[in-house]
Amino acid sequence: MDCLEFRRQLGAEPGRRDAAFLAHRDACPACAAACARAQQFERRLAGALAVAPPARLAERMLLAQATAERTARRTYLQRGLALAASAGGAFVLGRFLGPRDDDDESLRALAVAHLPGEAFALGLKQPIAVSAIEQGFLNRGIRLAASPPPDVTYVHDCPVGPYRTVHLVMQRDGLPVTVIYVVGHRNRAHDRFERAGWHGTVVPLRAGTLVAMAANPELLAGAVRDWRLSLDGPAASGHLA
């Protein structure tokens, strides 16, 4: 490689590291000096281009995707239902796609049936801001009495059947724990269930009902305890569900 070719390559690709390029640089002091100047310029250029991205950009992008996904799924479902209704097949569709046990309309059945529609939320790993969780409850007219658990990765004010709820996901021991807090509907008693691979517990809490679900039943008590503390406050949450 001669000096002309070296300078041509240096001007186009200063980061080159092929043998011929490096050999000429080591053999020619003038080109070595040019290479040093070029590297200096590259560092300056890289620094100048290093624009800081907006704060919480990744979270905003994930929220946009979750929203788009939710909208798409809703549209798909609406089209499916419209089709079924027009064909007079809504009843059949309901039997095949909806909860199939005798307690189709029970809160636990509705809670479990709600999960596949928002399955993406189970994979979210990054804890979200306390303010976002508080806002999720405020959207349902509820002010938390104490800080929410620190490992909440998803919150949304979802309708579940006829109920107004706050849907949350936490990550515990590497597994998602889903909590659905039903606003304005208080179950009369505690309830435990196992359904479609989920273990769940239903707990009357404040003026509503908390449904916690996880693949591992050992994670449920801690989740209920934490949300009892958040919803009732430290003074009222002296005992476990």
Binding site: Q9, A12, L49, P116, L122, G197
Partner: protein
């Protein structure tokens, strides 16, 4: 598994992609379009398209190049839809100048940034791909659909133009002082 493990895995893969690449995609978008808000829109569109086509991504190592390609196409598509007029370009330039007028963003490299934004797209784009994306000349050539030699010339000239602009500004400043 309780529900839809496929969806779960796909979402996890996407989340990792977003966290790993959204920052550098934003930088690339910013220097392509010169506007912070538009850059964020471009990144969002890019990632939404990536989510829809995630099955096309066979290897994690290819993710970066794949996302850059989507972003470039989104940028081109944007300019097909909305071809900025002279007034809009003026606004764009003002927005960029205002952004750098922010004391937090000012620095010794302000002149270089201005020079970068003044580069014609045919020089700016390959230079961004090389400096921000780490692409080789051959990779840029493949991405842009031109010959590697042409890319080398564009990159050479891009740097020459930047250096000339800095030199001119330096001379002007010396003349004023």
């Amino acid at each position: 598994m309780p529900v839809l493990p496929f969806v779960n895995t796909r979402q996890r893969q996407f989340e990792a992609l977003v966290r790993a690449h959204s920052g550098e995609l934003y930088r690339y978008a910013y220097w392509l379009c010169g506007q912070a808000a538009l850059a964020e829109d471009l990144v969002q569109e890019t990632l939404l398209r990536a989510w829809k086509g995630l099955e096309a991504l066979r290897e994690a190592e290819a993710a970066r190049g794949w996302l850059y390609t989507i972003l470039r196409r989104e940028h081109a598509r944007l300019y097909e839809r909305v071809r900025p007029g002279i007034d809009e370009l003026d606004d764009e330039q003002h927005a960029v100048e205002a952004a750098w007028a922010d004391p937090e963003r000012q620095g010794s490299d302000a002149e270089l940034r201005e020079a970068m934004l003044a580069l014609p797209p045919k020089y700016r784009e390959p230079l961004l791909m090389q400096v921000l994306g780490g692409y080789s000349c051959e990779e840029i050539a493949a991405e842009l659909g031109v010959k590697a030699n042409a890319v080398m010339v564009q990159l050479f000239r891009a740097r020459q133009k930047l250096k000339e602009a800095l030199s001119e500004r330096s001379e002007t400043n010396h003349g004023l002082s």
